[in-house]
């Protein structure tokens, strides 16, 4: 599917004896499989994707696949976890720092949008393909959402106003989620960073009211 410089098969290890330790071989295979499952499910849809498609994209043999994963879903969930962990790290970096709370919210959002925009397949995979896996999606969605709400609360210090709504943090995460989802669905992943002022405003209004939220959103 992908020829040229982004061909995952370029990372294949040479055939025959190479004397590399087993962990390293498995790591290389695992990395290629995770990258491949994202590409292939985004291109074909989860239901139509076969393990064979993933193997072809990754340049990994069937036996090695089943040593690492139970099935296509297991592989997909592993890729999901790696990606969300990385995104959470990114958000923490922008959010749990010094400075006034509204500005830190904006920084975290900016980092999120840039992280997502860097690879168009990733947001499609996380938001759209994941939702088609059937029953396992619900607990995963819930856990992921709870994780971001928790992180949002973790960064609320004395400079953060106490909102009147008891689920204001839920609303805040929902604002980012909903807006990003909509843009991804429309195939406008590249434009995600340009939504920063709009999402910042929508997210902060329940905490600050319109005037203050607008000031933070439109500040350079």
């Amino acid at each position: 599917m992908n020829e040229g410089p982004e061909d995952l098969r370029q990372w294949r290890l040479p055939r025959g004896r190479h004397g590399l330790p087993r962990e390293l071989v498995e790591r290389s295979q695992r990395e290629r499989l995770l990258a491949a499952v994202v590409r292939v499910t985004v291109a074909n849809g989860y239901e139509k994707t076969t393990v064979g498609d993933i193997l072809g994209e990754a340049g990994v043999g069937r036996e090695s696949f089943y040593e690492l994963f139970d099935d296509k879903l297991d592989c997909m969930l592993a890729a999901h976890k790696v990606l969300v962990d990385s995104l959470v790290e990114r958000v923490r970096e922008g959010y749990l720092t010094e400075g006034p709370w509204p500005q830190r919210v904006k920084n975290a959002l900016e980092m999120t949008l840039e992280w997502l925009a860097s690879d168009p397949d990733v947001p499609r995979f996380l938001l759209i393909e994941m939702s088609t896996i059937g029953p396992p999606f619900r607990p995963i969605f819930q856990a992921e959402y709870a994780r971001f709400v928790e992180l949002f609360d973790e960064g609320r210090d004395a400079s953060a106003p106490a909102p009147e709504l008891s689920r204001a943090s839920n609303l805040a995460v929902g604002a980012a989620w909903a807006k990003i989802y909509e843009e991804v669905l429309r195939g406008r992943v590249g434009e995600l960073p340009s939504l920063l002022p709009e999402i910042t405003y929508g997210l902060l209004v329940p905490f600050l009211g319109e005037a203050e939220a607008r000031a933070v959103a439109s500040a350079a």
């Binding site: 619900r138 009147e164 709504l165 807006k179 909509e182």
Partner: protein
Amino acid sequence: MQKHRGFETAASVLRPTTPMDIGQQAQRQRILDAMIESCAEKTFTATTITDVVARARISRTTFYKHFEDKRACFDAALIYCVETLHETAGSAHDPDDSPADATRGATTAVVEALAQRPGLAQLLSGDAIAVEPRVIEQFRKATIPALEALWSSNGDQVETYTDPRLAFGQAQVLILNQIATGEAKQLPDLLPELVYLAVCPFGGHEAALEQSRLARKDGVSSPAR
């Protein structure tokens, strides 16, 4: 008492007055209900026509008389959900309610209807997103102008404080999350937030908070669910 019996002929007296397709309509509705409940329980992806047929207690042949395939049935179920909720919202407020009160009334009625039938909420906030995102777009396209109309006295465009499309998405995420916890019956717990989201775009933050407070009070004073 029946009216206009004067011009009847012998033939028309014996002509059935119940609609000819009443049986088919009932069957179709049973199939839709079965699809909704099955999706709520195990999602659209995992639902089979066998599940739907068994739940609806009809034959496979009957299923195919009404719908071409699982997907066509799902789409019809979605349309049914959207229409049901719009009817609920439309009949939930008085003409002399203030726009903010009317918005709160309509939101409360919809959320309570969703709590009564969690399958509707599941379908609209979970499966519809995965299977047919365009339906959500249609739902949103119908919902926002309906809310907007409550705030416009003469059909003019209403100025907005925040983006109603974003508020709709936020409400959806909130509901999806509540359902993912398996607590769809507790959806009315979200009313303070959902009323806030419904009012804020058109009435602004302060008016939205005020309605949210009222919604919280309504929730406390209403009999235990």
